[in-house]
Every structure is written in C-alpha cells, then in structure tokens.
Amino acid sequence: MNIIFVYLKKYRVAAIAALLMMLIELSVELAQPYLISKIIDSGIQQRDTGVVWLWGGVLAGSAVIAFGAGVLSSFFAAHASQGFAFDLREKLYKRVQSFTYAVFSRFETSSLITRLTQDVTQLQDTIFMGLRFMTRVPLVVLGSVLMALIVHVRLGLMLAVTLPLLIVFLLWMLKRSSALFRSVQQRLDDVNGSIQENLTGIRLIRIFVRMGHEISRFAARSGELMQATVAALRLTETTAPLIMLIVNIVILAVLWYGRIEISTGDATLGQTVAVINYSLRTIGAMSALSGIMATFSRARASAGRVEEVMAADAAGSEWTGSPEHAHAKTAPVDPNGRMRAEKVKPIRGKVEFRKVGFSYPGSGLAVLEDVSFTVHPGQRVAILGATGSGKSSLVGLIPRLYEQSAGEILVDDIPVAGMDIARLRGAIGYVPQEVLLFSGTVRDNIAWGDEHATQAQIERAAAAAQIHDTVAELPLGYDTLLGQRGVNLSGGQKQRLSIARALVRRPPILILDDSTSALDAVTEGRLLDELQQLSCTTFLITQKISSSVSADLILLLDEGRLIASGTHPELMASSPLYRAICESQDREAWDHVQSIN
C-alpha cells in the first residue's frame, strides 16, 4: 500500500484540497442533528418562530456550501487520482521495459498486462473513492460520537463506549476477509487460466477426445471458486447486519436512559433526539463499510502486485547487474528514440566468443559450456545441433537478451558487457524462432526495424527477404493490415516479413534463429544469396545441410558444447556427427517440390 502514498505525494496539494472540501461537507452534515435539537428545544418547545427560521435558514445555507465544496472536491480528487494513475502506469511500463529479458521472462506476460491495466485502474479508483468517501466514513463515525458527547455527555457516552468494540470487530473482519478474498482471487485466476488454456489448446483437446476430462477438471476448479466466494461473501455480508444491531441496541439504551434524564430535567427532548440521530448516522456510515472493505482489500492486492513488478528489478540485478536499467537512464537518445549517429562509431560485425558458459537463472543446468569461436565481418556462420543443444541461447547472448555466466563475448574486439546496449542492439538484426508481428500494416511492420526507412528501403528489404512479390499481390500492397500476430498470413510469409524487418536496418550483424524453417529450399536459397550481397555477419541457425554448405564457419553444438567448428569440407573430414547429418539428409533438395506454385 506504500506505493499509493509514494506516487500520490506529487499530487498532495490536490489530494489535501479534496480532503478539506470533504471535511467542509462533513462538518455541515454533522452539525445537522445538533441544529435540529436547537430547533426542537428553543424553537418548537418555546414556540419561537424566529429561532426556527434562523436555524432553518442556517441549515439551508450550509447545504448550499456543502454542495459547492462537494463539487470542488470532485475536481481535486479527479486531478489527484488521474495524475497518480498516469505516473504509476508510466513508471511501471518503463520499469517493465527496462527489465533484462531474463527478469521479464520470470513474469507471465498476461499477468504483467493485468498489472499494468486492471491493477493500476483499481488503485486509481480506490484513490478517487478514498479522497471522497472512504476517509469520510471513519470521520463520520468519529464526528458523530464527538458531537453526541458535546450535545449530552452521559447520553453520548452510550454511543462512545461501543466505538472501541466496533473498531476491533471491524479490524478483525478486515483481516479475515482480505485473506478470504485473496483465496477467491487465486481460485478465479485458476478458473480463468484453465479457460485460457482450453481455448488455446481446443484443437488438441478435440483430437484426443479429452473434452470430458477437461470439463470435469474445470468443474472441480470452478466448484472451488464457488466455495471460496461464498465463504468470503458470507463473512462480509454478516458485518453490516451485526453493526446495525449493535448500534440499534445503543439507541434503545439512549431512549431508556434519555427518558430518565428528561424526567429529572438533566436532558432535553432535543438532546435525546440528537444523540439518537447521531447513532443512526453511525449506522449509515458503517453500512458503507463492507463495500469499502472489499475495495480496500482489492486495492491492497493490486498494490502488492504492482510493487512486485517495481521490486523485481532489484532482485534481477543479483544476476545481471541490471545493465539495461542503467542504460535506460544513460543511453544517448534523441526525442525520436534514435541514437545520435555522430556519437556512435559504426560496428563492423566481428564477433568473438571466449570460453563462454551460460545457464538460465535459477537452474543449475549448463546450457552452454566453454564455447569459443571468432567470426569476421561479413562472414556467415551456420549453427547446427540437436534440439536443445543451446543454439538459440548462443545467439541470444549476442544482443544480450541474456548475460553469459562465464567467459567473454566481444563485438569488434570490445566486450559486449561494457558496451552501450542500445548501440549494440542497434547493430543487430534479429529474427526470432517464433514469429511476432505487430498490429498495423505490412509497411509498419517492416519499418518497425527502422522507423525512418523510406518506401524504397522498405521494398528493398522486402525483396531481399523474398516477400516483396507476395506483398505486391495483396489487395492493398504494403498498406494491407495485419491482425494481431499477423493472423491472415501463412507461417512462411510471416517469417519472411520478420526477416524483412531485420534487414531494413541494414545491420552489420544478422541473427536468423531457425527463421527459415517454413521456407522452401528455393526461397531460402534466394534469401541466402541476397544476404551474401548485404555482406553482414550472419548467424544462421539451421537444420539443413544445404544452407550450411556455403557457410564460412559451421558450429556444431551438442548438449551445450561446441563439438566441431570449421568449413563444410573441414567438418566432413573431421566430424563423424556432421558426416552422419549430411548422409541422413537428402541432397536432392526435396523441398523444391513443395515450392511449386
């Protein structure tokens, strides 16, 4: 919950103003029963019309003042809460963007999205409500008790003594219910997660005829959710009637004792009525409590989730030294987010690994061990190896998506660990294994690699990636809209588009992480020819010997170790595994058959 105050601090003037306005409103309302008792005792009982007119007028006038204050408080509260949400959202998003990829991967994407959207909105609403209602409730209660004491000490005491009881009861309830609501939330997440999973895997479930299995699993989960919900709500719904009952007993006592006091002349009718009125107001305020309690515990959960993200960076730094966070502050970036060219010496593309080892954080298993090799600018490296041999991890280390745990990686003879990360990544064109396109047009997606690219540059990149002709055939050409994740293109087309996105940057270093798998051999061949002409250092993760034959350097990985490296003829001579791969693969370029159109 601390986070609320930290981020609200900037808007304290507005927040305090909103609270002040609320206090004005409140004092008007608290004065009402007192004024009524005046009307009864000095007006009606004494048959004095002047007094009635006077206090009646005061009541009406203060109502107008209270209304004015209320309207103003709305503006102040909106200003504070909107500003708060803006700042928090921005800070949170920046924080997420500044995460190292390793830290980012620790969170599920969907949960980060929820934190950025729903949780922030929840906190914002809580502040808006808090500045206008929530703080008001305890004040109404306290003020009512205080006023009751002022009106008549002994009668007021009746109300005052129950107050500690009510407070203790409420605190206990708050604690219990927030624990219960946490479990509700957890179960709800389970249920929703299970729905998500089923939607994604619906085809598989059909195929394996596991509908019944899934339905009964879901039934169990939603049954648990129901039980948790009923338990939590049952508790909160008990609060209001119980408080009402307690205060009502106070009213009974006031009536009983008030009558005695009136008969002895120690109290007036108006005073007794006023104390009863204050008791009723206490009930009114407290009846809003269960709602506030629910809001409060939700807000607390949201604040916890947001704080977790804010704190994650520090936790991640144990492992990474959080270089990207530092970069976010220091990177030379102009308003367009582009690096200033004059500050950066162009990277030529020499890449060297020296005894590099790597394991994912939190797992002791070495993914890479003792890998060393050197690639000169413009060379092509083919990386081969069995599934899980560490190919993707190896290329992921070059743009520092992850940091190696041993050894050194150098680009242009400079250790990447000391390099400005924006400069390093600016020199790398990366095509990941799983295609990720953004919503927008084809052009947007290619230009995503370089937002200043001209149409000619975009088309050149598309042509090199062998997608230009396909795009040209689309009804709107480069202006064709892609759905989220490019739903209306085939896998191979999407792959080529993401290659074009990398090529448009004319990167000195290009990484293709098995990104030609959906391409047929002809297309792939043409693509490789184009890459040759671009003369960038290329890392090509592949499974096809056909694309490794012409490589300047072949790296053969097995279980995280570099078991052979060299050119095709060299490896044919020296590596039995490489020979086995070659023999197993058909050299007849079978894939050509698949490419006919």
């Binding site: 109502a63 929703n192 009637p241 009114g284 097995d558 693969q585 079978w590 894939d591």
Partner: protein, 616 residues
C-alpha cells in the same frame, strides 16, 4: 414510470457496455426495440437458471419484504417514543414499547442477514452452472467457431461477463428489489404521517432530475471516449509485452515508451473530465439531501409550533428523507450494474446459442475397431462458402498405408486433414472409413482412433509427465517413459531440471520448439491409435534428433494408416502413396517410383530440384 424515475440517476460509467451495444444498432431505428427484447430474453434465461432454486429464492424475497418493512418501522417507533413516552411517565407500556423496538431491531438484523446469505448461495450456484454450461458448450462448438473469433474476445465473455453477472446476482438483484420496496414504503408512510411535509420534501425531486440529466448528458460521451482510449492503451500494452523479445533485440524500448506515454496522456485527459463530472452525482444527491433536511427541520418546526405536526413526525421525517434518497441513489447504481450484467449475459448466451459441432446424426455409430481404410470420393470444401479450398479430391488409403501429402503452403494439406478428423465436413463428395460414410461416424469415436502431431504443438500447464499422459489418461509412469523413449524425448527430459516432474507453463515456455514436438510425438505414441496424422511434425526437429526419432516414428506408423505432411524427400519416398496437391486440387498420386515413371509434374520437380542442386 419507475424506469423514467431512475433513468436520470444512472451512472454512465457502468452502463457503458449496453450503451455501446445500442450504439451499434443506432443506424436502424428498429434496433433498440429488438435490443430490449433481447434483454428480456436474457433476463428470462437468467431467471431459468435462478428458478432451479425457487424455494430458496422465495424465502429470500420474503426476507427482503420483512427487512424492508422492519426498517420502515424503526423510525416510526422512535417518533412514537418522542411524542408519547420520552416526556411522559408510567411503567408498563414504556417497557413493552422498548421490548417491541428491540424485537424489531433484532428481526431486522436477522432478516437482512438471511437474505444476503441465502442470495449469495443461490447466485454462486447459478454462476457455477452457467460457467459449466458455457465451458461444456465450448467443447461442443465446431472448430470453425474458433477460427472466426478472436481468442481474447471469447475469453472476455467467459471471464469478465460471467464475473459481472456473478457480482450483480450477489448483491444488486436483491438490492434493487429492496430499494423499490423501501422507496414505495417510505413515501407511503410519509404521506400517511404528513401529506404537507411530504410534498415539501419532494420539492427536491425535480431538482435532482434536472441535475442528473445535466450531468449524464456530459459524462456519457466522456466515458465513451475514455473507454476507447483505455482499449487502445490495453491493446498497446498487450502487444508490446508479447513482443518484448523483439523490442529488446531491436532496442526499441524508448520508442514504445514514447508510444505508451502518448496513449497514457490521452487516457488521463479524458479520464479527468469523465471522473470529475460523474463525481458530481453523489455530491448532488448529498446536497439535495441536506436541502430537504433543512426544509423538514425549518418548515416542520414552523408547522410544529402551530401544532399541525408533532416533534416525533419531524424526527421520523428526518430519517425517512434519508431513507428516501438512499434507495434512489442505490437504485441508480444498481440499475446500471444490472444493465451491464444483462448486456454481459446476452454476450454469454450468444456463445451458448452458437450451434454446436453439427450433432452427430441420429444414425451415427461408434466404432469399436478401426482398420483404417480411408477413401475420398470427389470431395470439395470451402471455409466461406465461396472460395473452394479443396476441389474434387479422390483417393484411397488402405489399412496400414502411409500417405504423404505434398504441396506448397495453401495447397489444402491441412484442410484435408481437418476433413479426415471431421473438424469440418465436406460440401460435396464423400469420405469413408472402413467403408462407412464418415458423417455417419461419431466424431468422438472417430478421433479416439486417431492421433495427431500438429504443426502448433500445444502443451498444458503441468508437468512433462502430465503432458505426455494426455495421450492416455490412465497410463502408468512406466508407459509414459516408454513412450518418451520411443519418441526420443527421454534423453532431453532427463537433462531438464526436474526431469519428468518439470512444470511447464502454458504453451510450454522454457523448452524449445523441437522439444515440444518430441513431447507431442510421445503423446501420440502413448495414445496408440489406428490412424496417425503427422502435420509437418518434424519441421522444427533437426536432423540429428530426427535420426533418433525416425525409428520411433516407424514403429508408431507400423500397422496404422498414417497421413504425413513432411518436408523431407526421405519421408516422402518411403510413403505407400504420395498425394501431390496444388491449389486445392489433387494433381497426381502414386508411389514415388510410379510418379517418377509417370513423368509429369512430380518427376519434373524432383529432377529439376536435383539438377538445380547439382549446379549450386
């Protein structure tokens, strides 16, 4: 009349769901009516769910009536006390009075407690049933439904809309009922106590109506604007977080942060005005409440001096005016919650009304055993009813044969498999299995004899063991491991942290694409089907691994009719029959040798390919 009274108080924020739904139909003047009928239909269906607990529901309604009545009785009794007992003397009736009041209070607390507790149970049971129905229905919908819709959109119906209904049923439903009762009761008692004072109190009602109208007219568009901005921001967040790897690798953080700031700013501006102005609503209610308080106290005081009303009546009125505006306020809020829940319910029922995967015909049979003889006779199919994806396909697969499907992306290979597994049924022509028309075979029965290794491997959240066991739920640990060994997945699993007990997140994060496919193959092996479909199953597996699993796959395919969409000539050459597809047509079919001898497309291609390879 009731609706007209409430309408101006509606808080625009919550009603938005419906507002938008209406907005869509705005072009057609008849639409709103249709919409109202839909709402009624939705209400009726919610009722049919609730009606399963009719007895308990009746009890709840009874409790609501009691508690509303009792809460009216409280202030009245106090006014009696003020007028008759407080200043008087005497013993018995006073004690009796106090006991009566105590009883009223006790019963009031009890009835309102019971109504809430019972309603929660009814509501949650109802929601449970709705969830279960929806979920079950989802698994009966044709696959084409999921192709048509965005996953996020279906997801929101299953989660947000249901949640909405749940919270509404929990409280809003009975609150509306009790608010109405309290409102009517309060006005009745007030009129009975003093018609004059009642009339004076009601002076504020037109003021309230006017004020509300002023406010809602402004907030409606503002909230719509804010909602639009919110949607944009959320979309932006979702996309940039899903694409985080790319953003990092391309070093585009600053750029997306700038894009984020722009959207965040828009949301703040629209949110500021929407929130400020809608924040007037409670303030207006409060202000007018205070005003009516002043009227009751002032004018009531004057009337009391003339002896027209008693002090007790004033006291009662002070309380009743508060009781009068509170339910109005509640009603306004609850009404919105209710409307948005109904809108949500409509969206939920819309899914429930989607026709299920064409019911298995009455005559459809379950297959005990399948030999795996498949024939396609002149089969045509189109997804949209216009452009044929498959056209006049005919071929025959004998039991145990291996059929290779060959052709460029978009040739219709995956569609053909979809027809075979009855995700879709052909528009024209006929597919038979062991001589039976496929449409006469129960889908579930058909699929239980097939196993698939699909292009997109899907893994569930759970252990690796659970994921493999999905192929056969009652498989022993040994069977699971044997299947994994056969698939060649065992070595990599053993090297993973946790081995078979390693937890996988949704989509199988943490292991590579190829490893996912190995698991999928193990799963299929475990399922031990009569027919097997491998849809580019080995595309992401490198040769080394493939060598290792080839043996397993061969074992798997032995004696089973297999349909393989493969990239490698080695696989294709081993096929008993090769189907060469192009543009939805079956260009050629036969064995590798036959096709080569035949000449034509296939042989040209193979020869051409070899030649080109030689030149390179």
């Amino acid at each position: 009349m009731f609706k007209a009274l409430i309408e101006p108080f509606r808080h625009p924020k919550l009603g938005l769901g419906l507002g938008e739904a209406r907005g869509l139909g705005a072009a057609n003047s008849r639409k709103p009516k249709a919409k109202a009928r839909d709402s009624r239909a939705a209400l009726k269906r919610i009722w049919s769910y609730l009606a399963k607990r009719k007895a308990k529901l009746t009890l709840v309604l009874l409790m609501v009536m009691f508690s509303s009545g009792l809460s009216l009785l409280g202030p009245y009794l106090i006014s009696r006390a003020v007028d008759h007992y407080l200043e008087g003397s005497g013993g018995r009736p006073w004690l009796l009075f106090l006991i009566t009041l105590a009883l009223v209070y006790l019963l009031n607390a009890l009835t309102s407690w019971l109504q809430n507790i019972w309603m929660i149970e009814i509501a949650q049971e109802t929601v449970l049933r709705m969830r279960a129905d929806l979920f079950t229905h989802l698994h009966r919908l044709p696959i084409s439904f999921f192709n048509r819709r965005q996953q996020g959109e279906i997801m929101s119906r299953l989660t947000n809309d249901i949640e909405n209904i749940s919270s509404t049923l929990n409280s809003s439903a009975i609150q509306i009922f009790s608010s109405v009762l309290t409102l009517v009761g309060t006005v009745g008692v007030m009129l009975w106590l003093s018609p004059l004072l009642t009339l004076l109190t009601f002076i504020v009602v037109p003021l309230m109506t006017l004020g509300m109208r002023w406010i809602t007219r402004r907030t409606g568009p503002l909230f719509k604007e804010r909602q639009k901005n919110m949607g944009e921001l959320n979309g932006f967040i979702e996309e940039t977080l899903s694409g985080q790897r790319i953003i990092k690798a391309f070093s585009q953080e600053e750029r997306v942060i700038a894009g984020f700031r722009e959207r965040n700013n828009r949301i703040m501006l629209s949110g500021y005005w929407a929130q400020s102005i809608s924040g007037f609503i409670p303030k207006l209610m409060n202000g007018l409440n205070n005003l009516s308080f002043a009227i009751v106290a002032g004018v009531g005081g004057l009337l009391a001096i003339r002896g027209i009303v008693t002090v007790g009546v004033i006291i009662a009125f002070v309380e009743y005016t508060r009781q009068f505006t509170r339910p109005l306020n509640d009603l306004a809020n609850q009404w919105n919650t209710l409307l948005s829940a109904i809108a949500g319910a409509e969206r939920v029922f819309e899914v429930l009304d989607e026709p299920t995967e064409a019911k298995d015909e009455g005559a459809a049979v379950s297959l005990e055993r399948v030999n795996g003889a498949v024939t396609f006779t002149d089969v045509s199919f189109s997804y949209d009813g216009e452009n044929e994806t498959l056209h006049g396909i005919s071929f025959e697969a004998k039991p145990g044969e291996m059929i290779a499907l060959v052709g460029p992306t978009g040739a219709g290979k995956t569609t053909l498999i979809g027809l075979l597994s009855r995700f879709y049924d052909p528009d024209k022509g006929r597919i038979t299995l062991d001589g039976k028309d496929l449409t006469k075979v129960k889908r579930e029965s058909l699929r239980s004899h097939m196993a698939f290794v699909l292009q997109d491997t899907f893994l569930f959240r759970g252990t690796i063991r659970d994921n493999i066991r999905y192929g056969k739920l009652d498989a022993s640990d040994e069977e699971v491991e044997a299947a994994a060994r056969l698939a060649g997945a065992h070595p990599f699993i053993m090297r993973l942290h946790g081995g078979y007990e390693r937890m996988l997140s949704v989509g199988g994060g943490g292991i590579s694409q190829g490893q996912k496919q190995l698991l999928a193959i193990a799963r299929a092996i475990l399922a031990d089907p009569s027919m097997l479909v491998l849809d580019e199953a080995t595309s992401s597996i490198d040769t080394v691994t493939e060598i290792k699993i080839q043996e397993g796959l061969r074992t798997l395919m032995k004696g089973r009719t297999s349909f393989v969409i493969a990239h490698r000539l080695g696989t294709v050459r081993a096929a008993d029959r090769i189907l060469v597809l192009r543009g939805g047509r079956l260009e050629q079919q036969g064995t590798h040798d036959e096709l080569l001898r035949q000449g034509g497309l296939y042989s040209d291609l193979v020869r051409g390919a070899a030649k080109e390879q030689g030149e390179a």
